[in-house]
């Protein structure tokens, strides 16, 4: 195991903690939104502790707040959670060890920890980056949720433009996906399917339908795409 005093570890720690803090700010929004959607403080905190994947949590809260059903809230959130399985595939080549440790690592397998790990060259540093980022984001995400849930009723999210904060954050997350042609196609088709279906199907279903856009990747890649990274990893949020 690499020493935490190793000079190469310091920049990884700095970046991980900064990233965790930014996610914590985002978690405040989640806490505010969850309470606004009728969740109790305990429910909001339990979600962050147990579910721990931001986009799914936000999506479930948004569907409930919009008057959607249990099924559409759960379905949309689980479609988003499926990407953590993809990140798990990426990380499984780097995280070895005993099963109990890997079961803990599984809970921390999210966008940020995967992104930070895959940004390192050295296998030992990849493991360190995964754990430090995962733990940092977990701590800040849960602290932020608690703060947001407690402040929730005192804040009118629209007054501060907080309803636009979440799509803005997702814009930042999407940026790395613009680098591949298939990523751009999936984004365009996914967004179009969603907007076109909004007036006609129940709340939460349009986001589910958008996942059909992944079918743009069915044809074999063209020769000029073979060098492109198949596992583009977002930077934020969980």
């Amino acid at each position: 195991m690499i020493s935490l005093r190793d000079p190469r570890v310091r920049p990884v720690v700095t970046t991980s903690v900064t990233l965790g803090f930014a996610v914590g700010v985002f978690a405040i929004l989640f806490g505010v939104g969850a309470v606004g959607a009728g969740a109790s403080t305990a429910q909001a905190c339990a979600m962050s502790l147990l579910v721990f994947t931001g986009a799914s949590q936000l999506s479930a809260v948004a569907v409930i707040a919009g008057g959607g059903s249990f099924g559409s809230a759960l379905g949309g959130a689980l479609v988003l959670a499926a990407r953590n399985a993809v990140f798990g595939l990426t990380m499984s080549r780097r995280l070895t060890g005993r099963l109990p440790i890997r079961l803990i690592a599984a809970q921390l397998t999210i966008d940020e920890s995967t992104a930070m790990a895959t940004a390192q060259q050295d296998p030992e540093l990849q493991r360190v980056a995964f754990w430090i980022t995962g733990i940092s984001v977990y701590v800040f995400w849960n602290l932020g949720t608690l703060v947001g849930a407690l402040a929730g009723n005192a804040i009118d999210p629209k007054r501060f433009g907080l309803d636009a904060a979440i799509p803005s954050a997702f814009v930042a997350v999407l940026w790395p996906h613009l680098s591949t042609r298939r990523g751009r196609q999936a984004m365009a088709v996914g967004a179009a399917l969603c907007v076109v279906s909004i007036p006609f199907v129940p709340i939460g279903v349009p986001v589910l339908l958008s996942s059909l856009a992944i079918l743009v990747a069915l044809p074999a890649p063209r020769a000029d795409e073979l060098g492109e990274d198949d596992h583009v990893v977002g930077e934020l949020p969980a």
Binding site: S40, A46, L218
Partner: protein, 101 residues
């Protein structure tokens, strides 16, 4: 919001994490399936941005949020830190709403 939803989501989300990291692990999937799965974040997150920008419930609506998200896109394009992108989007929306309302 119900405890049932919280727990069902917790179980489902953890199942996906374990599925990728431990169950499938280092086994490789058919290439077309891997290519498709890799696009889930792009497709689904783009849809959420579109929904949060253009809709209220089941109605499509253009309002101050579009200005905010537009500014966020410019900030992301200028490679600003994520926190700047978020604040710029929210602040622009609040400002436009204030001016219009």
């Amino acid at each position: 919001m119900t405890w049932g939803l919280v727990l069902a989501l917790a179980a489902g989300a953890y199942a996906f994490k374990v599925l990728g990291l431990i169950v499938i692990g280092r086994r490789s999937l058919p290439p077309p399936l891997e290519r498709c799965l890799a696009l889930i974040p792009a497709a689904v997150i783009a849809a959420i941005v579109a929904k949060d920008t253009f809709s209220v419930g089941q109605h499509l609506q253009i309002d101050a949020r579009l200005a905010g998200v537009g500014v966020a896109i410019v900030a992301a394009w200028r490679k600003m830190p994520v926190i700047v992108v978020i604040v710029a989007g929210a602040a622009t929306t609040a400002l436009v709403r204030q001016l219009a309302g």
